[in-house]
Symmetry: C2
Subunit: 124 residues, 2 copies
């Protein structure tokens, strides 16, 4: 099952992933844009309707927590990007990734190491 989000939903999920279960007010504070309180609430409610988050009561307020992990969202988004833009070629994608500005040599080295490890696993 593909797990996708709209732009604003992704902002909200980002807060939950980063800071953990949060109330509406907390999410609102941590969002990049200054939205009305009810706007944030509405987004959370539609996310709940879609089964992406749930809430527990806490005093008179709700505390929302994610039902979808960042990993799942990441995999879904990546798959979609790979299929729709990069013709299903992970190499092509990587090419663009490393051509992005300021990747430090260190980062690249760590990424290479990551591939090495993966090779050893698959190819004993």
């Amino acid at each position: 099952m593909e797990v996708t989000f709209t732009d604003r939903e992704l902002d909200v999920m980002g807060v939950l992933w980063e800071y953990g279960p949060s109330t509406v007010a907390e999410v609102r504070e941590r969002l990049p844009d200054r939205l009305a309180y009810t706007t944030v609430l509405t987004v959370l409610r539609t996310l709940e309707e879609k089964g992406r988050v749930a809430h527990k009561e806490e005093g008179k307020a709700y505390r929302y927590y994610p039902l979808v992990e960042r990993e799942q969202a990441g995999k879904s988004a990546l798959r979609r990007l790979l299929r729709k833009v990069f013709r299903g070629s992970p190499e092509l994608l990587l090419t663009h990734l490393v051509s992005e500005k300021d990747l430090t040599a260190d980062e690249i080295r760590r990424m290479r190491k990551l591939l090495d490890e993966r090779l050893k696993e698959a190819d004993p």
Copy 2:
């Protein structure tokens, strides 16, 4: 300038990138879904309005060609994904990319080579 596309627009752009300049009928044939002729036309017209494609007359029909290269779209989408889902960490993204099931050892080797070359460039 960020270059983004809706789902259906991306399908259409994919055809133009893959097969080159095409008429409406050609795009329609090559799309994954069976859409009405006028639906495809509408998508192309809105893409043109947004400055993503242009057309030349050819007989009584129009031949549409992309004004945006796959590379630009790829970079934009990748940037967005990186920022919104992977906390700006290319390593985290790569981790997910390689954890996708169907990567062959060969592909991984080629990807590693790619990083090697990049390292040599940056770090003589």
